[in-house]
Amino acid sequence: MASFSTTATIIDSGPPDYGTRLRRARLGLLVALTPVLMLFVSFTSAYVVRQGLPTLDPRTATLVRDWIPVTLPKLLLINTGVLVLSSLFMELARRQVRGEAARESADSIPGVSLGGENKIPWLAMTLVLGVIFLFGQWMAWRQLAASGFYVATTPSSSFVYLLTGTHAVHLLGGVLALCSAGVASLLGLSLTRRSIVVDVTAWYWHFMAGLWVYILCLLEFAS
């Protein structure tokens, strides 16, 4: 016969610790990247389908293909370099803040001093490169327009603007997140909170860099 008692065990819950919060934030980011990925998967499938799609010429009632590839401005390669470098700086910034957070709890123990903090402003440098990248994308758009390829000129040019534009919007989100982390640092706000923001933004940033390389390859090679 099953046995029962009449007591329950209840655990006192408090606010989650740093490790839990970091894990939760990273999980949240992983989940958040999924729809971003789906957005670009969807654009990719539209791109691939459109390239191969014949359409009816009403005059002859025959199917014709009308895909004209776009010559991408060389500037995009430079922008790629800028973004990849910014990803490196971002990673250094992430480790730097993480180190600061770890040191903060150690420094609070009397008589302990770890010293030797890295003073290079990696976060600020990432931010600068990010803004340079966005500006560079804008210049690339201007170059495309100057060579006659506007958003509606050909299906291929539509996709160039679409993919680069959507990527830029998402990167701008990352830039704003870095700004908020920078402001928080200047105001001396909670280091653990700033550390989590920088950590999550860093992974987001790396994803955006990888995504950009993918977009470039798609536009350049998938013809």
Binding site: T55, L56, P58, R59, T60, A61
Partner: protein
């Protein structure tokens, strides 16, 4: 309350089933070669799903009455399930559903996997907001070119299609506002649309296909019963969707030849 639920569920089930079985409102009589096979499969699906429908609803009604709380002290039967039962009904359901589908797929294949026969009667069907036009290729067997820039819907007929009269193949094309076809011949329909998606639906022929701008879709059907049948647009196409209908007249081969010859003569 259990009894009331049983009565209401059973009544709803039996009343609904009655109207299905009595065919009070039913598929229109089929008039194409494909209709017999399609209707046969419809009946098979209908009987099998009908049995499942009635059985499930009757069981639900019965169970909620039979296992109502009668106020005794005993508990409900403590069961977390039965794995064997799960496997059995999963397998049976899969066999039913997939089997039903595979049976229908041979009809689907015969209707859609093959192109029209080489001696079929060709009719190009064009949908536009909010009318259907029908074009016959004429004695040369070729459809002439159309040019969107030449379209003038208000002038009707050839102008509505934007027929390019400079193309020699256009000269003998016959454009009609009514679809006329001979009985017992395979009809190849080439579906086009000028503006938005329309859908060419002839209920008695068990025929439906979207007409998509940017595509020329080839389909076929074989009418087996003379008469006049309504064509309805079956894809939302704008404010006139409800009145975008046409007529298909199925006539004897002699009548068809006479009609077509008369229309072709007008083109000389």
């Amino acid at each position: 309350m259990g009894l009331v639920l049983l009565v209401v569920i059973w009544l709803i089930t039996f009343i609904s089933t009655y109207f299905f079985v009595a065919k009070t409102w039913w598929l229109p009589v089929g008039a194409s070669a494909a209709a017999a096979g399609i209707d046969q499969h419809f009946t098979t699906t209908f009987i099998l799903m009908g049995i499942v429908f009635v059985a499930a609803q009757v069981a639900l009604g019965y169970l909620v009455w039979s296992y109502r709380d009668r106020g005794t002290a005993s508990k409900a039967s403590y069961s977390h399930g039965n794995t064997t039962l799960e496997i059995v009904w999963t397998v049976l359901t899969t066999i039913l559903f997939v089997g039903l589908n595979l049976t229908s797929s041979s009809i689907w294949a015969s209707e859609r996997f093959r192109a029209a026969a080489s001696d079929s009667v060709q009719v190009e069907v064009t949908g536009m907001q909010f009318a259907w036009y029908f074009r016959y290729p004429g004695p040369d067997g070729k459809f002439g070119a159309t040019n969107p820039e030449l379209e003038d819907a208000s002038a009707g007929g050839e102008a509505a299609l934007g027929l390019d009269t400079k193309d020699p193949a256009s000269k003998d094309d016959v454009v009609s506002g009514i679809m006329v076809v001979p009985v017992n011949r395979e009809i190849e329909v080439i579906l086009r649309a000028h503006d938005v998606i329309h859908s060419f639906f002839i209920p008695q022929m068990r025929f439906k296909q979207d007409a998509v701008p940017g595509l020329a879709i080839h389909m076929h059907f074989t009418p087996v019963q003379t008469g006049e049948y309504e064509i309805l647009c079956a894809e939302l196409c704008g404010l006139g969707h409800y009145k975008m209908h046409g007529i298909v007249r199925v006539v004897t081969p002699e009548e068809f030849d006479k009609w077509l010859a008369a229309r072709e003569a007008e083109k000389q």
